[in-house]
Amino acid sequence: MSERMKADESGFKREMLAALPSLRAFAMSLIGRHDRADDLVQDTIMKAWAKQDHFEMGTNMKAWLFTILRNELYSQMRKRGREVQDSDGYFTESLAQHPAQYGSLDLQDFKRALDMLPPDQREAIILVGASGFSYEEAAEICGCALGTIKSRVNRARQRLQDILQIAGEGEYGPDATSAPMTSRAFVS
């Protein structure tokens, strides 16, 4: 009995480790600041560990952790008010401490545009467009209907287009360097 439990546990830990890079990326996309994102990831790890009996091995660990992280974030935000989110800090922090991270100015502009989205639209487009979840999984993580997620993703796309077009007129013509990169980004 205890042998089997030990085996399950290390499986649990292993799966959790495997999901951590993506979980951090999700936290960063939602909060923006490395220190706060990592605090949130740490809280999520503790919560998930305490709840591991509720997790069914073989089901989607990543979606499970994302759900916990998201719930944790919103419950902290409710407790502390909007102080948790700090879009300006996001930008400043990443420029100051991670100058190499968002290498091109282009990406920094994009990050700023992403920060301007309402939180529900931002998380929807991140889950579907970057974390690799299906619309259905994203709906489950956010605790809302499939149609709601789809419409949030669409509105997020539209809004980002609007923001970025205002920021740089004519930047979106077909362009030799970004077109091949675009196709590659979705193959890997």
Binding site: L17, L20, S29, Q42, Q101, Q161, P174, S178, T182
Partner: protein, 64 residues
């Protein structure tokens, strides 16, 4: 399932077309990957080790 295919198809269509969505999708992905590809900070590895160690110590009592 169908939705996963749907999402994949959207992505495929977006990346083929010369449309702003393709650019947005690529940038979003690039931004996300820039964090995802960072090494996991040691403090998380240490935390998991500690949690695991505590759990293992507890186990015999729980199992009996």
């Amino acid at each position: 399932m169908n939705d996963r295919l749907g999402a994949a198809r959207d992505v495929e269509r977006d990346s083929r077309a010369d449309n702003p969505n393709a650019q947005i999708a690529a940038k979003l992905r690039a931004l996300y990957l820039s964090v995802q590809e960072e090494a996991i900070p040691d403090k998380f590895l240490d935390l998991l080790e500690k949690l695991d160690a505590v759990e293992r110590q507890k186990l015999p009592d729980v199992a009996e």
